[in-house]
């Protein structure tokens, strides 16, 4: 009794999956000659069922699709080649019956539109990427010092140098400038760092130096 829901579910699943897709081509339509039948099937898949719009006559169960399938076979048996069969039907139903539209003046936009779009999109992508790259490259590394920054820095260095008379043991003045400019550490606030020398860490080279210099 417990299995009943399971069996039911399985049945529904099998029914809904439907097995292999149903063929529209009826057995009585099929030609005895397998070569001709193969050609008929190939042609049929390229022809639109004019009342169903997006099905080929090979797929469609519509009456007219069946009629057209029979017509295709009739023409093949009569000795037409594939192209003649298709032309015969196009002469009566127009290019619309062709699922693969021909390349001709009124289908230029259809055929060339997508590649043209691809080219436009590729071009725009390259342009966007280049702009992005340029911005990113400009964004890396330190901003160059503005004139006012430069002046402030120079003043600072000047002040440190004046409180640190150069001596053979002390760090040369040029190194102060180089280190600060390279941004290894932010420029020290003179009011904060220079008097509060005790708070300076050991590797705080110039402040530490300034400290020792003052203590001596």
């Amino acid at each position: 009794m417990k299995q009943i829901p399971a069996i039911l579910a399985l049945t529904i699943l099998v029914v809904m999956a439907g097995g292999p897709p149903a063929l529209a081509v009826e057995p009585d339509e099929v030609l005895a000659n397998p070569v001709l039948e193969g050609r008929a099937r190939a042609i049929s898949t390229e022809l639109r069922c004019v009342v169903c719009q997006n099905q080929s006559i090979d797929d469609s169960d519509a009456d007219i699709a069946r009629d057209l399938r029979l017509l295709v076979r009739e023409r093949l048996v009569a000795g037409d080649n594939d192209e003649e069969v298709v032309d015969y039907i196009v002469a009566r139903y127009g290019d619309f019956v062709l699922l693969r539209p021909p390349f001709q003046p009124n289908t230029l936009a259809l055929w060339l539109g997508p590649p043209l779009m691809a080219v436009i999109i590729a071009t725009l992508s390259v342009l966007f990427y280049q702009t992005y790259q340029r911005r990113r490259r400009a964004g890396t590394g330190p901003e160059p010092l503005s004139p006012s920054d430069r002046a402030e820095l120079d003043a600072l260095v000047e002040r440190i140098a004046s409180t640190n008379p150069p001596s053979p043991s002390s760090v040369p003045r040029s190194r102060f400038r180089a280190e600060i400019e390279e941004g290894l550490k932010p420029p020290p606030d003179p009011d904060d760092e220079l008097p509060g020398a005790d708070e300076s860490s050991d590797n705080d080279t110039h402040a530490g130096n300034a400290d020792t210099q003052r203590q001596t």
Partner: protein, 182 residues
């Protein structure tokens, strides 16, 4: 240049929308299958030859019989409701002097006979196209369809779908006059 990169896609999209809107709203070119132009218009009507539906119904005709006069060829079926809807107008056309031929599409003799007895038979002659083979020959996609054939046997006009008073006044009658004048 940078501004172009931003504006160009917007412009392209707007252009695409414009084209789509134009195609969708243009009644003559929209995607209604009944408005598909027939490649046969302007060409000689493909040769068909049809038997009569039954002995007591005038009919059986071939393309050869149509020559010499401007004719209207109406494809109909007893099972087709729009055919019934347009039937009074077909009848009126015939009463006004047009030579109207009928192609009885995918029908049985019994059904067609009953239908014609009930609704009247305005047709000069009716050909029974039981297997729709002749309809295929003429590029018929469904019923009803109406052809105007000029005196030389050329298809002057084709209307797919039922004839309404608007279609009659706006399309059929002008094309009929044109074919008769030319």
């Amino acid at each position: 240049m940078r501004r172009l990169v931003v504006i160009l896609p917007v412009l392209l999209f707007a252009a695409l929308l414009g084209i789509m809107a134009a195609l969708l709203t243009d009644g003559e070119r929209n995607n209604d299958p009944s408005r598909l132009p027939s490649p046969l218009v302007g060409k000689t009507a493909p040769v068909i030859s049809l038997p009569a539906i039954a002995e007591n119904i005038p009919g059986g005709f071939s393309t050869e019989d149509l020559k010499g006069h401007v004719t209207i060829v109406n494809v109909f079926a007893s099972w087709c409701i729009p055919c019934l809807a347009e039937h009074p107008l077909i009848t009126k056309l015939a009463a006004d002097g047009a030579r109207v031929y009928g192609i009885n599409h995918r029908d049985t003799a019994a059904d067609a006979t009953t239908w014609l007895r009930r609704h009247g038979n305005p047709y000069e002659a009716i050909g029974a196209d039981t297997d729709a083979r002749a309809s295929l020959e003429w590029g018929v996609t469904g019923v009803p369809e109406t052809f105007i054939i000029d005196a030389n046997g050329k298809i002057a006009y084709k209307h797919a779908g039922p004839i309404t008073p608007e279609v009659l006044e706006g399309k059929i009658l002008p094309k009929l006059r044109e074919a008769e004048g030319g």
